[in-house]
Amino acid sequence: MSLTRRRFLGWIGAAGASTVLGSSADASSTVHFKGYADSFAILHDITLCVGCRACETACNKVNELPPPDLPFKDLTVLNQKRRTTAKAFTVVNRFENAKTGSLSPAVFVKKQCNHCLEPACASACFVKAFKKTPEGAVSYDHSVCVGCRYCMVACPFEIPSYEYDNAFSPRVMKCTMCHPRILQGQLPGCVEACPKEAISFGKRKDILNIARERIKKHPERYLDHIYGETEMGGTSWLYISGVPFEQIGMREDLGITPAPELTSGALGAVPIVVGLWPVLLTGIYAISQRKEKVSAEEQALAVAEAVEKTQALAKQKLTGELEKAKKDALKDKDSAIKQAVKKALDDAAAAIVKQEASNV
């Protein structure tokens, strides 16, 4: 395999174009989506939560989920860190208080779908089963779901769960923000059930103001951070806390980039590849074909030249030989004549000598 200049240039072109895939440029990304106007949000004031699990009970009832293994009144489940499952759309976890370094007073945090403004699950779903509704809820349509579980891979909050034990109609399961109840003018189950008003429901812009005001009024009670205001581009569940979120199981390293932007660069490369690859490949094909044609022509030319040269040489040789032969023939003729003349003279001389002798 010889590397010619042309072929090398072809490869360089291919390598250069493929780097397009790595860029994350997106012409439309200068517009920041701040969520639907008038959409709802829920504030979880972590400092008010007492870990009574009333929200879990209400959620179970409203969503008609199967009864839990241990009754909701049993608070020993708090000894383990739990996540949302197909049977529990919301869970309360207990954490050590960073201020006292012990469980008194413990910090309780409710966990459920955060209903992102630009949801990773919706962006990842290849059959559009997830939708961000104008009311704020991220809804899921099990009637189209294929069960690829890419939504679960994509979710930065580790929320969606799957009915692995259902063979014929498994569904992705997660909090619905009680979207059907919101549409009927009712409060979400957990909000209604909370005895401590640790969860408040309202328009997202009002909820944000409430959170800001509480932080402003009680700087000794709260950290100056509304979790969910910007995390992953913003969510419809918002949290305020007296201890760092990182210490109560909420990641602070997620960044503020909405999930869809993470893949927009790769998706944007698709039409570019579709448009340019055939041109590039046909070009390389044409070059390799032409190279072959040229080399064939050059070969033919070289052969023709060689033939001509050989012929010329042969001709030259032939003429040379002919001349030599002619020369030789002439020489032969000369010598023959000379010889004949000599012989004739000799004969004549001999004859004279003979005659003279006879005359004597």
Partner: protein, 390 residues
């Protein structure tokens, strides 16, 4: 070799056949279990680990190792390397079988496989990289099928249809390269959405480029690896051209693989530098990352180069195996080992034995179908009626 002599004697009870038979029976029972009791009965998948071995190995490794089809046909038909023509058919066949098995395996993994056409006929989730993967894999499987049909048509003696398909070669090759570029890279891009779950040493905005470039390496190495196996078991099926061209193919592909590996190594280092992830190299994950990068990228790059310089066919073949293992390691790292690294070890995933058996079952099915086809159809030799006619 023993395989060869036994197949001449028409004995079916070879060690491989017995092994394959057992795997098929176990595979059948697990299949029944999977589709009657659900994913939970046969897998260790969980809410935190929704993708396991069937995605990490069957899908990611399957697709990248089946890249030989597009790499070889591009080299021969587009780049004009006609000396490698005899390598095209086996590569296309491996590619076709590889993709067919990937789609077959997906039926085990997704919750409701009968809905797999939904993304195309019901609602198109075009914002999803998985949609792109699905669309390209479906289209490319079709392309590979058409590219493969000349062998079947020659076997069946349908001359006119065969010649018609052969005339489409260029178009199909270009289409195949476009589709392969897209879905090979998209498989890497699938993980772009989860920067918080994939270890920073493996997460990179260049993931799609890494997957595409490494798929070329995988394709070249698989052609070499598979030709080694074919030489061992099906040498009697190979014609003079195939045998004569084989050393050239081995040296040429080895050289190309060495070059692409060098490029891949460079861009991996570039990615490391751009994300400024050097400090992770001193951690446990860093050691693992270095093992992958030095042992399975830099080393084969070097060994291929030495093999080509010394015309050492044996070394090149062993290097091909090393490279293939390296690609498998890379895909498993991204999908399983470095994925969810933030979770405590008690919540991490390890495949259930039945998941492993299903993967083995699928590989065995692939080998059996491959064997059936190369012993029946003109793959490793040219059909006498069409000699030199391409």
């Amino acid at each position: 070799m023993s395989e060869k002599t036994l197949s001449v004697n028409k004995t079916l009870l070879t060690p491989f056949n017995i092994f394959a038979g057992i795997v098929l029976v176990i595979g059948f029972f697990i299949t029944v279990l999977r589709f009657t009791k659900g994913l939970g009965a046969v897998t260790n998948l969980s809410d935190n680990n929704p993708w396991g071995l069937w995605i990490g190995f069957d899908l990611l490794c399957g697709v990248s190792l089946a890249a030989g089809g597009f790499v070889t046909s591009a080299a021969v038909y587009i780049f004009g390397m006609k000396r490698y023509h005899s390598a095209v058919r086996p590569a296309i066949l491996t590619g076709f079988l590889g993709y067919a098995l990937v789609v077959f395996a997906l039926n085990y993994d997704v919750g409701r496989p009968w809905r797999l056409p939904y993304p195309f006929i019901i609602q198109q989730g075009t914002t999803s990289l998985l949609f792109e993967v699905g669309a390209c894999v479906a289209l490319y499987l079709t392309v590979l099928f058409i590219e493969f049909t000349p062998a079947v048509l020659e076997w069946l003696g349908l001359k006119k249809a065969r010649n018609l398909v052969v005339r489409l070669t260029m178009l199909l090759t270009i289409f195949g390269v476009v589709l392969s570029t897209l879905h090979q890279s998209s498989l890497g891009a699938l993980y772009l959405i989860a920067p918080s779950k994939l270890h920073p040493l493996w997460y990179s905005t260049y993931l799609p480029v890494y997957f595409f470039v490494s798929s070329i390496i995988a394709g070249l190495s698989m052609v070499l690896f598979e030709s080694t196996l074919s030489h061992h078991y099906f040498e009697d099926k190979m014609d003079e051209t195939h045998l004569k061209e084989n050393t050239g193919v081995t040296l040429g592909f080895g050289k190309a693989a060495s070059l692409v590996l060098a490029g891949y190594f460079t861009i991996k280092i570039v990615g490391l530098a751009i994300s400024n992830n050097w400090h992770y190299l001193t951690t446990g994950y860093g050691a693992w990352f270095l093992l992958e990068l030095l042992g399975f990228v830099a080393l084969p790059c070097f060994l291929y180069a030495v093999g080509v310089r010394d015309k050492n066919v044996k070394l090149i073949r062993w290097t091909a195996l090393l490279t293939v293992l390296g690609i498998v390691l890379n895909r498993l790292n991204i999908s399983l080992i470095a994925f969810n690294w933030q979770l405590p070890s008690s919540e991490r995933y390890f495949p259930h034995w039945m998941e492993i058996m299903v993967s083995v079952f699928i590989v065995v099915v692939g080998i059996l179908v491959f064997r059936f086809i190369v012993t029946k159809m003109p793959i490793l030799y040219e059909h006498p009626d069409y000699k030199g006619n391409h």
